[in-house]
Symmetry: C2
Subunit: 223 residues, 2 copies
């Protein structure tokens, strides 16, 4: 047995949800994509809401584990500016790039979260609320340490904007391509990660009351 039907269903459901949201995708769409019967979905998951919950639980934990792992590494950097950059990367990278295989999260899962949060579907809302963890708060604390003197208000809002930027980069990459008339590729995720990190680096750093040097950017090659 190479892959159980349940896993196949989860995979296809996640893919479809990330493309079209929760409401627009029917159980029959999922069954058809997976080459299975509608009944197999109710058998394995009981309900559509529970299917979503299982997708969510499958990806959330590994993604946040990876984030915290990278955060641990970042925290060992003594220079606050370099540390700020590393902390931001620790938050963003696992949301964009699948760690090793198709296991935890990656862009597809993050895109699904983005679409779900926008839909505001009651099922999804409950699942998201239930799956809430402390990871975001841990990151905000870590960011606060990198930006001495920053207000809570500023930190919270900027972390909100960071997530919004993350989401929108995955939800509407065509806009980047179209707006630049093809000069910039919105689908280039490596570039997107670097841009998000650099942009939020600047926005967080500006909160510091101790602005000494004018924001030394660590470039990664692509610009």
């Amino acid at each position: 047995m190479r892959q159980s039907l349940k896993e196949t269903l989860l995979r296809h459901a996640g893919k479809l949800f990330s493309q079209s949201g929760y409401n627009a995708v029917s159980l029959r769409d999922i069954a058809k994509a997976a080459g299975a019967n509608v009944g197999s979905l109710t058998y394995h998951f009981g309900s559509k809401a529970n299917l979503l919950r299982e997708i969510y639980e499958l990806h959330t934990r590994p993604m946040n584990a990876r984030r915290l792992e990278l955060l641990g590494e970042a925290r060992r950097i003594s220079n606050p500016d370099e540390r700020l950059m590393a902390v931001l990367r620790a938050y963003v990278v696992p949301a964009f790039i699948s760690s090793t295989d198709g296991d935890g999260g990656g862009a597809e899962f993050t895109r699904m979260r983005a679409v779900l949060s926008a839909e505001g579907n009651p099922d999804a809302r409950k699942i998201i609320a239930d799956a809430f963890d402390e990871t975001s708060r841990v990151f905000i604390d870590a960011l606060a340490e990198c930006v001495p003197g920053a207000s809570v208000e500023g930190l919270i809002w900027r972390s909100q904007f960071l997530l919004g930027a993350l989401y929108y980069a995955l939800v509407n990459p065509e806009r980047v391509t179209r707006l630049s008339e093809g000069a910039v590729d919105g689908e280039d995720r490596e570039a997107a990660v670097n841009q998000i990190v650099e942009a939020s680096y600047a926005s967080f750093r500006s909160l510091s009351t101790e602005l000494a040097a004018p924001a030394p950017l660590i470039m990664k090659g692509n610009n």
Copy 2:
């Protein structure tokens, strides 16, 4: 006649779409909210897709007009940093605050756009594509003038992040309140506008090759 049924229908449809998206709201939901019959919707709009199109057209033009008006004022500022701030406000404010009455755009319409773009519904996709105008490009040009030496890539991506931040601030304001344990009110739109403008000010300014003074922030009172 105080308000035509058509206007009432448009108003309620826009409200419901901005709350739950396009797919999740049925014509019967809209009719019920407006205290009218389902048939009146097909009579006035022909189809659900066309109803959305009319909502879109009702708000897009006034909102962009207001943006360009404010942009004109901003362009007269000679100091590049102050001008950058004003240009950003010109883009953000009309998307958040209804100009005078319940006419053009405001937060509700922007929220609807955010939800629609995330849903990726084929109907909505086509309408958004058709309604596309040059406003965004005009703003990017204006921003480029405020940030000498900035790369196209950097400008495009940051304008993408700006829109993502804008959208997410309206889509998920509870997160701000929850994350700050009530210390920051995510529903406070005036604060949100100021935070978005300040954050993107910093992110755009960091693109400049001529970073002279360390980003003089113009405070507006609330922080």
